[in-house]
């Protein structure tokens, strides 16, 4: 009780109240505009929060993070375009509801489910905080190294079908973090004699480039979309009643959100996928999923809104961000010399609880705002894409230039903007780069510190938490390898099935013989022999 009272004492300030209001309303607006998203908004606002108190700055950013998903449901339901990436699953059941003339029901259900997910996760974590405070000190240098490594591996393997290139991009992030003066032996690394690179590549410059400027380029190059909005009539309170009819789906989905949010590198998508699958498998009407099922909508929205509060756990307790948004928030802590980690949980528990209570209040504010203002709010969906691009580019300047008033930072940000634009066009992930940059730095420091006390390799995992983390890493890697083997076997089978020629061995030999005897085969073999000769002559 004392803890909650001292946490409330931290929040009883006019600037925190203003931050809560600005964060919640701003977050909903940003979420409701397809093409902006919380990552862009947080990246732009990050330098502006550096001059604020940590609690005020973090409340604004948390507000945007937590409330953008509420707003993201609006275009997902009304125009079949998710406002934020995590609202993609909302379109599956939300838009069919709109199509059959129930947009009000869908929106009301999405708000109620989101509210339940948000409040459930915050309450879980407030109750769970004393346990976390006891577990956090068990994490020494080697445990934090292993947890960071686990987070990085999970981010990479989560990109199914793109794990290799996601891994390469994560390594690129680690490489970016190594550029500049190395702080222990004071040697230069990959500075190429350029003074501007001596102090390293700033994380915020990279974040702004990869998320904000690249998004501006993307919007400026695309065509404007024609949008037809459905009119909303009637109240929005019926969703709360409908949610009360599905307590099992809502609580299990929120539970998945909390657990997945706490694991670094996993996040909303896995939580949503698991909740949706669970809801579909246990539903009495599984055939309705994807056709406007209320249970599907509840599962998707509850799970994604339960994640933000839980995602703060690895950040606050271990100093390890699990995804790009919490990685950006880490820089707010560093700027104010508040080092998140076990010590924060032990010494400043009231600060941690204050953040959770702020999230709780935020959920209430957002729900009230949405119930009152949805009809006016849906008009933001009409903002033309390319004008949004102009706006994002203008605001990105504030983000980059206000950091150090450096034109070279802006050049680097523009470069990363172009790189991010290419990644977006190819649908390759940018998040592993940011996590590689943040976790790479943590891993370097912690590995160096822990190896000083390790004599044999087994000493590294001789503590219980280290051993558990190491075992999880091994399990994740083995599971991933097995999944790849299964995918490859599937592919092979599909290739054999679609083959038009016979797959019998005798037929294969017959085709080989024909290739040897025909003039074309002879020419091909001669060309190959010639190329091989040229190659061997080189050596």
């Amino acid at each position: 009780m004392d803890l909650i009272l001292s946490a409330l004492d931290i929040l009883m300030r006019w600037d925190v109240a203003l931050a809560l209001l600005a964060g919640s309303v701003g977050g909903v607006l940003i979420g409701a505009i397809p093409g902006v998203g919380p990552a862009v908004a947080i990246a732009i606002l990050l330098p502006a929060t550096f001059s604020m108190d940590p609690i005020v700055g973090l409340t604004v950013l948390l507000g945007i993070y937590g409330s953008s998903m509420y707003g993201g449901a609006i275009p997902a339901i009304l125009i079949n375009t998710p406002g934020t990436a995590v609202n993609a699953l909302t379109t599956y059941d939300g838009y069919p509801m709109t199509a059959r003339g129930e947009p009000r029901r869908a929106l009301s259900l999405a708000y109620s489910a989101s509210f339940f997910g948000g409040v459930f996760s915050v309450l879980c974590l407030i109750l769970f905080a004393p346990v976390l405070a006891r577990i956090a000190p068990l994490f020494g240098a080697r445990e934090i190294f292993l947890a960071a490594l686990l987070g990085l591996i999970l981010v990479v393997v989560a990109h199914r079908g793109q794990a290799l290139i996601a891994g390469a991009l994560a390594c690129f992030g680690i490489f970016l973090n190594t550029i500049g003066m190395e702080p222990v032996k004071y040697t230069q690394r990959y500075t190429f004699g350029v003074d501007a690179l001596g102090s390293g590549v700033n994380l915020i410059v990279v974040v702004l480039g990869l998320f904000a400027i690249s998004q501006a380029f993307f919007l400026l190059i695309e065509e404007d979309e024609k949008i037809r909005l459905t009119k909303l009539r009637g109240g929005l309170f019926q969703g709360l009643r409908e949610l009360a009819r599905h307590p099992r789906v809502a609580s299990v989905s929120a539970g998945f959100g909390v657990i997945m949010g706490m694991i670094p590198g996993v996040g909303e998508f896995t939580a949503q996928f698991m909740s949706y699958t669970y809801a579909q498998k246990t539903s009495k009407r599984p055939q309705d999923f994807g056709q406007g099922s209320s249970e599907g909508l509840i599962a998707a929205e509850t799970a994604n809104n339960a994640v933000p509060a839980a995602a703060m756990v690895p950040l606050l307790a271990l100093g390890i961000p699990g995804e790009a948004l919490t990685a950006m928030m880490l820089s707010v802590f560093y700027v104010h010399n508040v080092v998140p980690g076990p010590a924060l949980f032990q010494n400043q528990m009231d600060f941690v609880v204050a953040l959770y209570i702020a999230l709780l209040i935020l959920n209430v504010l957002v729900l009230i705002f949405l119930l009152a203002a949805t009809r006016s709010l849906i008009q933001v969906v009409r903002i033309p894409n390319r004008f949004l691009g102009v706006a994002i580019l203008t605001l990105s300047f504030v983000g980059v230039y206000s950091l150090r008033n450096s034109a070279s930072d802006c050049v680097i940000a523009a470069g990363f903007g172009l790189f991010g634009f290419v990644l977006k066009r190819l649908q390759l992930p940018a998040v592993p780069i940011i996590l590689g940059m943040v976790l790479g730095g943590i891993m370097e420091v912690k590995l160096r510190a822990s190896m000083a006390r390790v004599r044999t390799p087994f000493d590294f995992i001789d503590r219980p938490v280290a051993f558990i983390l190491f075992s999880i890493i091994v399990i994740v890697l083995v599971t991933h390898i097995l999944r790849i083997r299964r995918d490859m076997a599937d592919l092979k089978e599909a290739e054999w099935q679609t083959k038009t020629s016979s797959t019998r061995f005798a037929a294969l030999l017959l085709r080989r013989r024909t290739s040897f005897l025909k003039e074309h085969g002879r020419r091909v073999r001669a060309r190959h022999a010639r190329l091989l000769r040229r190659l061997t002559d080189l050596f």
């Binding site: 290799l164 390594c171 380029f217 599909a494």
Partner: protein, 176 residues
Amino acid sequence: MTSERERRFVGPHRGQLLFVLTFLTLSGVLLALIGQQTTWVKQTALFAQPRFWPAVAVGGMVGLSALHLWRLPFRRVGRNDLREVLRWAQALEYAVWFMAYVLLVPLIGYLPVTLVFVSALAWRMGYRSRRMMAICVIFALATVVLFKALLEVRIPGAFLYEFLPDAWRSFAILYL
């Protein structure tokens, strides 16, 4: 005809091969330069070497992108790939707009350059109605007031502001 491997590929096909080839080449160059660009300190453990993490990172970039290239179902650069590169190059124009904005702010001032930049870029994008121009002006004004006057982000006063009358100069440097 599209093969099964191509059909199962995650993401668009165009441009993938060129991207991976470029990424791999640049990673290879970085790996080749590791001896020049990092230092090996004598009598220091492997994990504390300044070269250790760059080696892990660049090694990972080369190894994983090479594996990705090997698993890629496309082996030839086609017309679609070249068209995609042209699309990438289109973004350069906006990078130039952005850099012009960055370079002009310290000379002319945040407010005047933002007003011109937003309106000019919106004009270039095809928004030429009076209503859109008015929205651009309001947006530019709101941005400057919010960030420079209210949130007090660090954007220095412009060179041109030095020529303003005394009463205006300090106001312009602080708030415009």
